[in-house]
Every structure is written in C-alpha cells, then in structure tokens.
C-alpha cells in the first residue's frame, strides 16, 4: 500500500500542477496507476467486486478533484469501474451456469425474497443477486457496504455446501483480480493505439486534390493526414496557427517535414479561406455525452464558418476522450483560463495594469481561455477508433464503456453517517 500511496500522491501533484500534456498521456498514466491500485487491493472473502470498486473510487475521486477540467481522468476511472463490474458479472454468470443453481434463479424472480436476502441458501446466489438484479428503488438508495452483511447470515445455513463454495470463492477472487487487471491492460493498449486505428480510416475520407483545414496541433490529426499521404492521396493542408499557443506552427513544421504541401494562415483568415476548403479535420480535448466537443479555443468559430459554407467538420477523438457527462455551461465550468502574459506583455502594459492605487476597480481585464465548446449540431462526423459516428450516436457508445452507477463519483454525504 505505501508505494501505491506514493504513486498516487505523485500523480495527483502532476495533475494539480498541469504538468501532463494531452489527454492520451493523462489517460494512460491514470490507467496504469489504477492498475497498481487494483493489484495492491486486499480482497475480502466475499464481495470482491465491491472492495475493488471502493478502492478505485477512493483514488478516482481524488484524481478527478485534482484536475476537473481534464476529463480523460474521470473517463478512465469510470472505464475501470465498468471493467470491474463487467468482469464480476461474467464470472458470476459462469459460476452460476457451472454450479447449476436453478433453484436460486427462481429466487431472483421472486421480488419478495429481495427484501430478505438472509433467507437465501448460498452466498453465491446472494452475490449473483447483487450483480444481476436490475436497478430498482431499493438498489438506488442502499449503499454498497450493505450487501457485505449478506454472507454472514447465509453462511450459517448450508454448511455442507459452504465448504465447496469457499474453495470456489477464493479461486473466484483471484480470478476476478486477474481478469480485471488483464482488462485494464487491454484498456491501456487501446489508449496507446487509438491513433493507428483512427488513421486507418483516413483513406475513406480523403480523396484526390482536396484541401483540408485544421487549427492548432493535434497528434491524431497529424497521424491521420500522414496515413492518407502514405496511401498516395494528393491534398494540401491549411493550418491555422491557433493563437495564443501557436501550436499550428508546430503542426505545420511536422507536416512539411513529412512532405505535405502546407499553408500556414492566421486564425483571422479562417473565414476568408474556408470557401476554398473541402473539409475541416480537427482533434478534440473531450467529447461529451450529447455529442458536443470540448476543443481548443477558436474551434467554435471555425465550426460556425464551416457550417455557413457547408464544409464538413470532422472531429477525430480516441474513445478515452468520450465522457459520459452532459455539458452544463461548458464555457465556464469545463474551461481553464491561462496566463494573460500570453496575450499582453506585462512590461508594456504595466501602467494600465496598475490598479493598486486609485479608485479600486481594475480597468483592464485580460481573458485567455483554453477551451471552446462546439455544440453537436455543428459537427458532421466523429471518427473514433471504433469507426465513424454521428454526434447523435455518441450517447450509445457510453453504454458500451461506462456503467450508469459510476456516473456520479463524488462522495454523497448522508445525514445518517
């Protein structure tokens, strides 16, 4: 435990100080950290899934609180929780099928018995009930530790069955941890290879003699365009510089190094040039459940211009960027303001910025947001590692990757505690 704590604290520090750049790196490191947390978790005799979920949630809440704007952290935490639940479910169904407990399956349908789980014959049936029963008002209101009381009463009855079950349970607990860690490894693998899977689809969208517009710099876009170039598609790229970080300069340099015809334009010229553009391809910081995009600043302007000129606006995003939350007031709540020194030189404007003396209220405010929100109606297509999707479809992908129980990760304070 101590070394995981040190790892967790180190990662928390990096998140708070914004030292990790990019959602892919953040997602990967979060997944690796959670893998260590899981492997270090001591598994109780029964209800291993609950223990795993509890330990992952405990770390996950702290990680999310460290950098609420970096949604990839929350996404990965929720993915891992979903993995735990799914692995537990599949193990339970396998065990149930193996032990042929048809009698207990009758109990599940009997809703009266749900109120008295102590009356069930075997702990495994109780555990399966907790994983397999659909959400009802009771399940929503009770906390997870409640079900830990179950095996205590049930193991008193049916001792002869109990011994064979316990052997199954310990092998089950090892298997659960093992399966979960394997699945988390797969997740890490997916996060690392998302660029290749997205880039494979480049040939379907880029034809000959096309003009593509992008803003700022995204590694996914770079790989996408290079993959198209590999397949001998001819196209030229307009890169808007993406003030105030000027990442567009970096992307332009990368593109010309790989032999692509690139034109670097200013952000102000986007509306002027977009009438000659065939497609806008951009990366995203996060994709929200309604299909809206949290993107680098300036992309809402580009999306509006693309809509006006009927140019397709394509967003490339790995599946670790898909967030199950709906954006409420995203310009303020999911945004970060950076230092004004990127816009104004403090030395030159020191006379205007000096409001210590005088009337009191400062005359000059400088606003430097990092992100923009692009509503789903402006996005033509999402290209993820699972293929191309409409913005209206993104909410379905959430069901694949996340569980409904994990959406709210903040600790609920109840009056009883």
């Amino acid at each position: 435990m101590p070394d995981t704590q040190a790892l967790v604290n180190d990662f928390l520090n990096k998140l708070k100080k914004r030292k990790i750049e990019g959602s892919q790196a953040t997602a990967k490191q979060t997944a690796e950290l959670l893998r260590s947390v899981i492997s270090q978790t001591r598994m109780p005799y029964t209800n291993q899934a609950a223990a795993l979920i509890h330990s992952v949630k405990a770390v996950g809440e702290r990680l999310i609180a460290a950098n609420p704007v970096e949604l990839a952290v929350g996404n990965v935490v929720r993915r891992v929780l979903h993995i735990v639940r799914e692995e537990d479910l599949s193990l339970t169904t396998a065990a149930m099928a193996g032990l042929n407990l048809s009698a207990e399956s009758d109990d599940e349908d009997d809703t009266d018995r749900d109120n008295h789980p102590a009356l069930s014959a075997a702990a495994i049936a109780a555990a399966s009930r907790s994983t397999l029963r659909p959400p009802s008002l009771q399940t929503l209101l009770e906390d997870v530790p409640d079900s830990a009381a179950v095996p205590h009463t049930s193991s008193s009855g049916g001792d002869s069955e109990g011994k064979s079950k316990s052997a199954d349970k310990s092998s089950r607990s090892r298997k659960l941890k093992h399966d979960v860690i394997e699945a988390v490894n797969e997740l890490i693998q997916d996060i690392s290879t998302c660029h290749e899977l997205i880039a494979e689809q480049a040939v379907e969208h880029i034809h000959q003699n096309e003009v593509i517009l992008t803003l700022g710099s995204s590694r996914t876009v770079l790989e996408f365009l290079c993959a198209a170039k590999e397949k001998k598609r001819s196209f030229r790229v307009f890169v808007a510089e993406g003030a105030p970080r000027y990442q567009g300069h970096l992307l332009a340099k990368e593109l010309v190094t790989r032999g692509l015809q690139t034109t670097l334009i200013t952000d102000s010229a986007v509306f002027a040039m977009i009438s000659r553009v065939n497609m806008v391809i951009v990366g995203a910081h996060a994709v929200m459940a309604n299909g809206g995009v949290i993107a680098p600043v300036g992309l809402n302007m580009v999306a509006l211009a693309a809509q006006k000129h009927a140019v397709p606006f394509v967003v490339l995003a790995g599946s670790h960027k898909l967030c199950p939350l709906y954006p409420h007031h995203p310009e303020v709540l999911l945004n970060e303001l950076r230092s004004p020194s990127e816009l104004l030189d403090f030395g030159e404007f020191s006379d205007c910025l000096d409001f210590g003396s005088g009337i009191g209220a400062p005359l000059l405010h400088v606003v430097n947001p990092t992100f923009d929100y692009v509503p789903p109606k402006l996005v033509s297509l999402f290209i993820t590692d699972t293929g191309g999707h409409n913005p209206s479809y993104m909410y379905r992908l959430i069901a694949d990757y996340y569980s409904a129980d994990d959406l709210v990760l903040e600790r609920r304070t109840t009056s009883g505690n």
Partner: protein, 324 residues
Amino acid sequence: MNRVGLQYLAGDLSGGNARCIAMLQAFQEAIRDYSTPPEKTLTRDLTSKIGGFVSFLIECRPLSMSMGNAIRFLKSRIARLPLTLSESEAKTTLCSDIDRFINEKIVLADKVILRHAAAKIRDGDVLLTYGSSCVVEMILLYAHELGKQFRVVVVDSHPMLEGQKLLRRLVVKGLSCIYTQLNAISYVMHEVTRVFLGASSIFSNGTVYSMVGTASVAMVAHAFRVPVLVCCEAYKFHERVQLDSICFNELGDPDAISKVPGRVDVNFLDNLTDKQKENLELLNLKYDATPSDYISVIVTDYGMIPPTSVPVIVREYRKEYLLI
C-alpha cells in the same frame, strides 16, 4: 510625397481615413509646388503627374478603397476645371476642393456618425470592437464623455496586434476594458450586447470589406444574436461587388506570421531546412469580406442604413459629390 509613401511602406500610417487624409494632403502640397510646363495644358499634365504619384504609392502599398475613391474625385475635379482659369487660380481651386472633400467627407461625416452611433449605446452595455478603427474609437470616447456607463471588449489578432494600441488609448481615458484575442470570441460573446466594427470599404452588394478577422467576429455575433453595427463614411462605398475574400485582397508580409513578438518560447518556425521551406507557404491576408447577412445596420453620414441600401447611396449620391 516620398515621405508619405515611406510611411505607408513602414506601416506607420494605417487605417483608411488616416491614409486617405495623408495622401490628399500630400497631393495638395504637390499641386501647390506644381507649375505647368510650356506647351502643355494644365489639366492633362496635372492628371498624368497625379497618375505618376499614385503609381509610386501603389509600389509602397496597394491603395485602399477609400484612397481610390479620393483619387477618382480629384481626377474628376481636375477634368472639370474651366479652361478660362489661370494657373494660380486653378491651383487654389483644386486645393480648396481637396480641403472641402476632407472636411465634408471625413471630418464632418465622422461627427454625424458619432452622434448616430452614440445614441445606440445604453448604460450597462458591453460593446465589442475588433482591431483598431478610428471611427469606433471616436464613438467610444464620445459616449464615455457623454457619461454613459459601459464596458468595452477589445478583440485583437496576430500578426498586426492593432488592438493593443486602441486598448492603451481607451484605458488611459478611463474606460473599463476587457482584452482578448480572436479565438476566444465565442467565450466573450455571451456577455456582449453590441458589436461595433469599422470598415475599409462597403461594396454594392452590402459586403463589408475590412480587416481580416472581421467576418469571423460578425459571424459569431450573428450566431449569438448580438447586433452588429458597421461605422463607415459614405465616401468609402464602392460600386464593385464581391462574394468572397479571395478574389480581391492584399497580401502582407509572410514573415510576420512566423514571428511572434515578445514570446521566445513559441518561435517554432526558426531554422527551417530547405526541404521544409519548399513545402511550406505562409499566407498573410490583410482584408476579408463580411457577407451582408451578418450586418444589422451601417452607420454613415447619410444616417443609419441597412446593408441593402448601399448601392442606392452609391448611385444617388455619387453624382452629388463628384459635382461639388
């Protein structure tokens, strides 16, 4: 004349009105110093001389639309000079015509625009402006003098960064300002109540031709349902029509894009290899064309007109000032 040309070249003199006034005053000087050579008529020779000066100015920097209109006015005045006038009388007539043009079409026109536009500013407004337009600056200072309480959002863009000069002048006079760059416009537009923009020219199909980026500002304002007011003197109207920004534009210095003043950490484009330079093109547009549907109203010295009335003004009133 040389001095003015060099000022254009260096970029010291920018803005449609300032360039136009400087050019006309330079013409006045040239006319005063002019003497007709023997066996040549005043009108023809002077016109060709003016043509020579104009070519020199074009070499320094392509003419703005306002300057083009002023030159056409001057040439038509020269052509209309009665032949009976002596040389000195002709010269004084021309100089006073130029003075009247500057006074009526620019100075007085600006005063009328100030009064119209300041009436549209209410207490508690948040006004957004882009770049540095002299007319908009006058409007904001005038409204502030009238005692109206409002805040100004100054939006700026690289590479010209003209907004910083406007910002300094406004803060010095005590206006409360917010400064941001063009990409953040969707972030600030939630709070904005009115957008005031200047123009280099307005074409006959209602398209506003002004500093690059204005179209984006107008588009985002339109998307957020914020009224856009373009303030432009009528002498800048032009009968050409233009649908997009590519067919007619001015290119600035491409190296200005790769250099970011004052920020060493983002000079990514220094030290490019030849292979890289061969594939990379730097495009620095100076102007763009804003479609008329994004404009709510145009404030001119003829009143507040919708963009669709621009060809009417060009047709009906062009005759008037050519015949002053």
